[in-house]
């Protein structure tokens, strides 16, 4: 306890205290805005804020995770990317604009997958994911391995699935021949069950690829059509 107790009406306002007040969030609107501006321009002060923030960070564990509604991510994408596309191209360039909107709409699918991730604490499990795309193809897909159900979930983020052909997913471990994991049945989420030998091969560095095949899949068990999307599995 300090020897001189501060009087209720005489509150000393050291920078360190202001930094702590900002981190706690107790300041009124105007003061808070001024402090936020100061953080941008005053580096020593910003460091005081950062130090207090670090001290309080452990309390963040008390925020319980809650699943956000499905459509939110596509609204975010629409704000970020539809506008970006529209403003960077000519006003009349509707194709680019609509492609941006389509991307936003298709991003729904990603959230479908995300839900499964979300319900678990973010830092406990590692996740195997692969973002699959390839030059010259508009198909962009995302694969996430669900460690609990042992299923590989694949979604088409952008681009169209061919109507009169099938998209087949292949796993390529090292220099081994591609092994079929099955056909994409839905642009939203297709779940692939992996046999135990294949599960063992699905790890950081494994390649996943989608090829266009005759309806029902490649007849000989080996890919015959062009690759429309491919990516390397990463552990994150």
């Amino acid at each position: 306890m300090s020897p001189t107790e501060p009087d209720d009406n005489m509150i000393p306002e050291g920078d360190d205290f202001i930094a702590a007040e900002y981190v706690l969030g107790v300041l009124p609107e105007q003061e808070r805005r001024e402090v936020a501006r100061r953080i941008e321009t005053d580096k020593p002060f910003a460091e005081l804020v950062a130090r207090w923030q670090t001290q309080f960070d452990p309390l963040n564990d008390e925020y319980d995770a809650a699943q956000a509604p499905q459509q939110l991510k596509s609204r975010i994408d629409q704000r970020l990317f539809a506008i970006e596309v529209a403003s960077s191209s000519s006003f009349w360039n509707n194709i680019a604009f609509w492609r941006g909107l389509a991307f936003a709409a298709l991003a729904f699918a990603v959230i479908g997958i995300g839900r499964d991730l979300i319900e678990r604490p973010a830092r406990i499990s590692e996740q195997l994911v692969a973002s699959m795309e390839t030059q010259g193809s508009s198909v962009h897909t995302l694969a996430i391995f669900d460690d609990q159900t042992k299923k590989l979930k694949v979604t088409v983020v952008s681009g169209d699935m061919p109507k009169d052909r099938s998209l087949e997913l292949w796993l390529i471990a090292g220099n081994e021949a591609p092994v079929s994991l099955g056909l994409m049945v839905s642009p939203q989420v297709t779940e692939f069950n992996l046999s135990s030998p294949l599960l063992a091969k699905l790890r950081d560095g494994t390649t996943l690829a989608l090829t266009v095949e005759p309806v029902g899949g490649a007849p000989g068990g080996a890919p015959t059509g062009p690759i429309v999307a491919a990516g390397i599995v990463r552990k994150i």
Binding site: N9, L24, F56, A68, R79, L117, A122
Partner: protein
């Protein structure tokens, strides 16, 4: 997901990698939505806030590289600060007070404290050394975004008294945390 995994995603987002942004959202949005719900206490506002927060994350991802903090702390700080800004810009103070009353007082969480170790345990130990109502005021401010007005009214003291309380609490906390 590991902190390293989230860090990598954030740096890829700073390079405008949309796929990384998708995965980052999938992996972290539940936590940040939890922050929004608790601070704003209202689903509609929380949903709007979450959108603004991920727009900020997309735009500010480049700054993460120079921030000396864990990725999830960095993300939660963006979310918390945004929600508190929203809370402070609400016009009638009465709404805020009502809202604060609805949010249950955060109870000490022994399980959490038991799991927390080392540095994380420290803030709990140090809060534990404060008088109970002062510790509750600090936690209420941090976790629920309580303003000075809300805290003063909850604890039935004048606003300046609350500020003095908090200041003394923070001095004690600092001594304890850095001691």
């Amino acid at each position: 997901m590991t902190p390293e995994g989230i860090s990598e995603l954030i740096s890829r987002v700073s390079l405008r990698d949309r796929a990384a942004f998708d995965v980052l959202y999938a992996a972290t949005s539940a936590k940040l939505f939890g922050v929004c719900l608790r601070v704003l206490g209202n689903r509609t506002e929380a949903e709007d806030a979450l959108q603004d927060i991920y727009v900020k994350i997309w735009n500010k991802a480049g700054r993460f590289a120079v921030a000396d903090t864990s990725p999830i702390s960095w993300l939660v700080a963006i979310a918390r600060n945004h929600c508190i800004d929203v809370l402070r810009s609400r016009k009638p103070a009465a709404v805020e007070l009502d809202q604060a009353a609805e949010v249950s007082e955060p109870s000490p969480n022994p399980e959490q404290a038991a799991v927390a170790s080392g540095e994380a345990q420290r803030i709990y130990d140090c809060l534990g050394q404060l008088e109970a109502d002062r510790a509750a005021a600090v936690r209420g401010a941090y976790l629920n975004g309580d303003s000075y007005e809300a805290l003063a009214s909850r604890h039935n003291v004048p606003l300046n008294t609350m500020r003095t309380w908090l200041r003394r609490s923070l001095i004690k906390l600092k001594e304890c945390l850095e001691g």
